[in-house]
Amino acid sequence: MATTFDPTVSATAGSAENPAAEIAVPITLRINGKEHSLRVDPRTTLLDCIRETVALTGTKKGCDHGQCGACTIHVDGRRVLSCLSLALAHDGKEITTLEGIGTPEAMHPMQAAFLACDAYQCGYCTSGQIMSAIALLNEPCGPEDAAVKELMSGNICRCGAYANIVAAIQQVRQRV
């Protein structure tokens, strides 16, 4: 039994036990500046494609129905929900995930602010929070905390780290 995970082979690549292989469709996705030539079942969401096929697991699956925001990524610089997006609809798009934002050695200012403000507890929603917060910097948003809360309402945090999340975002906004 092969146990090595090869991210270049899609979950639908062919075998007799896997009839979905017959309907897998080729696609090239540009993720964090790198081209990925893949074969995906048409039903594959961008979220599952990023996590399972391309093996970038920074993007999280929460509700899978557009209610929690954990799967937030950027498409052409705008924040969207990858769970309600089809992978096949995104060829030619510039897709950015948490892995494309910063590294442990060179964090994005928003990542650094989340650290400094302790803007998480369990961390599961944090990737989506940070992706949402970075996109918010380029959206019409009033200066007050209430405006930030309103525009961040699509990102749920079960631990209730909201106060520190708002503080982290405001710290970055005041600097730029």
Partner: protein, 333 residues
């Protein structure tokens, strides 16, 4: 999820011809247009929607907002809700539309959801979304468990004994008040549909929600020229302050001259089976003084035909107060 073929039509004509092969453009459609996917993909995961073919219309160049020659505005079918809400002319001339859109969903969803998609947004009735339950809208003839069940958030206007599902859209409430016109291209040519005629009451056919037929592609929506000097307000009341559907909402476009109401358009959300224009409330207010007494009569008129269910009688009072407050805010300028 039901397996489907993903197709990206090269032009609107191809999209229309392919979609025209569908049995229906309503519930149970075997061909669906894909816009933002925020409703469609959600319902496909729930097996409420099971199309065999999904037509991606996002690259058909229907994504422009342009000044119309009559002074109005033309909004392409795939214009994203966030782009529409933040457009300079919408902010200036159609503020009620901007307010309504920004009161709905989340930043991410507004970046995805399209104008045309919002027009055909589906109800959030929990029975409709759960294929283990009967639902006349999803599966005609199986019954409506909401009438005797969980109906706190459901409709009090336009209901039938077959369906009491609420139309969830905020955008549509503002467009109803603004008298938007919906432009459709279909197998037999193009046509314009007034906003009031686009959505259907459930009656005995709750699975039919709009007048769209197979192959009908919404290409754009137009807004008439703004009423000079009018005040526009959208107010939405809900269980939490953000990212929640309306329990009651009101869109008001009002022009007051010397203390009297010259022009008035009122639409309600969260209470109707379709985006609810209220000619009854408008008739009460035409020519009357813009004061609290007039607004109270208008609110009474708007709710005269309301038919509450076991859990949502509170909506009648809530909707009245919502409308009175919206009218007063507009009057205050």
């Amino acid at each position: 999820m039901h397996i489907f073929e993903f197709i990206r039509p090269a032009d609107p004509a191809t999209a229309i011809n392919t979609a025209a092969q569908a049995r229906t453009a309503q519930q149970g459609a075997d061909v669906r247009f894909l816009g933002g996917g925020t409703t469609l993909l959600d319902l496909m995961k729930l097996n409420v929607e099971t199309p065999d073919r999904v037509l991606d219309i996002n690259r058909l160049r229907l994504d422009k907002i342009e000044d119309a020659s009559d002074g109005g505005l033309t909004i392409g079918a795939t214009v994203r809700n966030s782009d529409l809400a933040n457009h300079a002319r919408v902010l200036r001339d159609y503020a009620v539309l901007s307010q309504a859109i920004l009161s709905g969903a989340s930043g991410q969803i507004r970046n995805m959801a399209t104008t045309a998609g919002n027009l055909v947004q589906r109800t959030r009735c929990v029975y409709f979304r759960d294929t283990a339950m009967p639902c006349n809208k999803r599966d005609p003839g199986t019954g409506c468990p909401a009438i005797t069940g969980s109906n706190r958030t459901l409709a009090i206007l336009g209901t039938s004994d077959q369906c009491i599902a609420t139309n969830p859209s905020d955008m549509c409430v503002a467009m109803a008040a603004l008298e938007a016109v919906i432009y459709v291209e279909g197998p037999r040519g193009s046509r314009a549909i007034s906003f009031a005629d686009f959505h259907l009451l459930p009656g005995n056919t709750p699975h039919r929600e709009t007048v769209l037929e197979p192959g009908d592609l919404i290409t754009h929506v137009t807004l008439p020229p703004p009423i000079a000097g009018s005040k526009q307000v959208y107010l939405k009341l809900r269980d939490r302050a953000s990212y929640e559907f309306a329990l009651a909402s009101s869109a008001v476009v009002m022009k007051v001259d010397d203390g009297n109401i010259r022009d008035i358009r009122i639409a309600l959300g969260g209470v109707g089976t379709k985006p609810w224009r209220s000619p009854e409330a408008e008739a009460v207010l035409a020519g009357k003084p813009a004061n609290a007494e007039s607004f109270r009569y208008a609110a009474e008129a708007a709710m005269r035909d309301a038919k509450p269910q076991s859990e949502n009688k509170f909506k009648i009072e809530l909707a009245k107060r919502c409308l009175m407050h919206t009218l007063q805010t507009a009057a205050n300028g």
